[in-house]
Symmetry: C2
Subunit: 400 residues, 2 copies
Amino acid sequence: MSQPKVFEKPTGVRDYLPEAVAKLRSIELRVLECMQRWGYQQIMTPTLEYYDTVGIASSTSNNRLFKLLDNKGTMLVMRSDMTAPIARVVASLLKDKPFPVRLSYHSNVFRAIEEEAGREAEFFQTGVELVGDASPEADAEIVALAIASLKAAGVEQFKIALGHAGFLNGLFDQTLPGRHEEQTALKECLQNRDYVGFRYHLQQLHLDDEAREELESILRLRGGVEICRMADKITHADMAKESLRHLCEVWEILKAYKVDRHVMIDLTMIGNFAYYTGMIMEGYAENLGFPVLNGGRYDNLLAQFGRPAPATGFALETNRIMQVVNGGVEPEAYRVLVLYSQEKREEAIRTALELRTREGYMVETKSVSAGEAIGETGLSEGERVAYEGQLYDDIIQFTE
Amino acid sequence: MSQPKVFEKPTGVRDYLPEAVAKLRSIELRVLECMQRWGYQQIMTPTLEYYDTVGIASSTSNNRLFKLLDNKGTMLVMRSDMTAPIARVVASLLKDKPFPVRLSYHSNVFRAIEEEAGREAEFFQTGVELVGDASPEADAEIVALAIASLKAAGVEQFKIALGHAGFLNGLFDQTLPGRHEEQTALKECLQNRDYVGFRYHLQQLHLDDEAREELESILRLRGGVEICRMADKITHADMAKESLRHLCEVWEILKAYKVDRHVMIDLTMIGNFAYYTGMIMEGYAENLGFPVLNGGRYDNLLAQFGRPAPATGFALETNRIMQVVNGGVEPEAYRVLVLYSQEKREEAIRTALELRTREGYMVETKSVSAGEAIGETGLSEGERVAYEGQLYDDIIQFTE
């Protein structure tokens, strides 16, 4: 246990200097406004929740939760996502609000990390939940809004991959009935996109040729909407077939939204398989190895809070979106310095106050002795002048 | 250790439903914009900090810090204010940025509470720090900006009380030299506004009449700028007299800002006396028992992070301001529901997407079977219609 140095921060957390804040907040506000236009209103929940309620209901594995004890010895967690807290609110404070309930959020979330992982322990998510609607229309709305949100954030090149938890669950239950351990091993390979491991596990199972081929062909099920038809030929499981019908229906509705060119089908996706019950989605931006967006249907979560209801939603990984967005930030302020000597203080302050009412102005004042006046700055349009290490668009002097 | 019920939250934390979020965020954005116009740029710091650095440097007492251990066994705290984290940033990431440094923030902060206290364990502060300027101009700027921020937030009736840590420290050191315990007892009475206790402690000290009267007269030192002159006659301590000169100078500058009518002098104020070194301020709004604003000069904090510098700042207690602000929130959205039957889906979705581009519109869609159409709504201007328990400004139907 080493003593931290005075300037150090805990592992995996960061400071945001003004430029980064401007970018983050610009994304946040534009995305929340987009969500509001689609009928999603923002809520906020506490950073701390009970471990036994929201903690265990969240999709985050136990060892990645930040835990602490309150003064009665009850275990608390720092929220690891917003879906479980929102489920709690929908089932308690909003229990009389009729379905469908549409809510949005922008929030920091916390996940304990391994020392060398280089991942963030605190990061931002901006997302929505649509609770109380099990229809393909609800899933399609969530996908279309995810696309609108990425555009609002300023992400230009992206793809949304759609999968379905029911397809793989149905396929595995038919091919490997009752063999839960083997199913889990294969699912974990898919979740980690470890296709070599998937094939290796498959070989160990000593299945007949047909079953092995059926499972191996999963890995090829990525592409356009034709993938649903291909997959339908592979499987005989009712649940898998029903899942494919649902996905096809979602695709049809996305065509009405005219966003199907942003979407692909990826039936190898399994998301967090203990959590999602239906459609799953991931969003990818150009040149970024991690998803910028995660979401899907979770029809079993609300029941854990006493108000059973289907639900679907997504979260933008706002910090990753910061990395892929270039423009779109508000123009920088017009920075003015008002220098004044004691005798002209009132006039100088009056001028500063007046300039501060102008759109886009940022005005600082500084009292100087007469000797510190800097003479004519002779600035021309667009030029900036340095004063004590800072750059200003204009310096106005009130000195004797 | 009782098991929490599924709908419960930890003590002292709250959910914000859409209406409360709209109000909170409206205050947040207007205040931050005001601060930006005065040259203060927003930064963000992590929720978790090391106990041994930011934790012990903060102005929060040890038993009110939320503590947890990281996976190496090092103690972390959830930030209890933003002043210490900003001092860390100014001394590390911004160590090459020349003074003065002007920074703003809006942030949740955490303070563990006693079970029955009814205080909030997580709440919001919106504030600024001005680092590297020891002048009365800097203190006056902070006071004037505090007033501008309260106005930007929509607080109409308020008073700012100004005091000075140096006045009481100087007076006590002269009257009770070396008697630190007695000084602390008296200061604690002042901090808690326990004037009866103050008089009681004073009697126990067996001072001569002059000294006792000098100390007792502190309690009368509240009013306009004339209080500084009154106080100057009471004390002979250099430090106290110097503090009064500084306050008078701040007052003069506040007259140039034309905000002196919002300000009063209260020399009984001592703030957090281990922390503040100079001018102290508190802001009060009508009909609210707690300050809506706290601030002051803390010239010793930056040295703890390795970059000694004078500093001054304030924080708005944003949650308390929510309680006193009525209007000022953005007008509610114009809420439209688009109902459609399967056959007219494309037309309905196209209409919804078009309406969502209009300023202030919030548009939901719902697929219905032909039998669910609701007929002519016959809405007139300003009327709202209910549909499945929700109120809409308009319902547009695309049904066969």
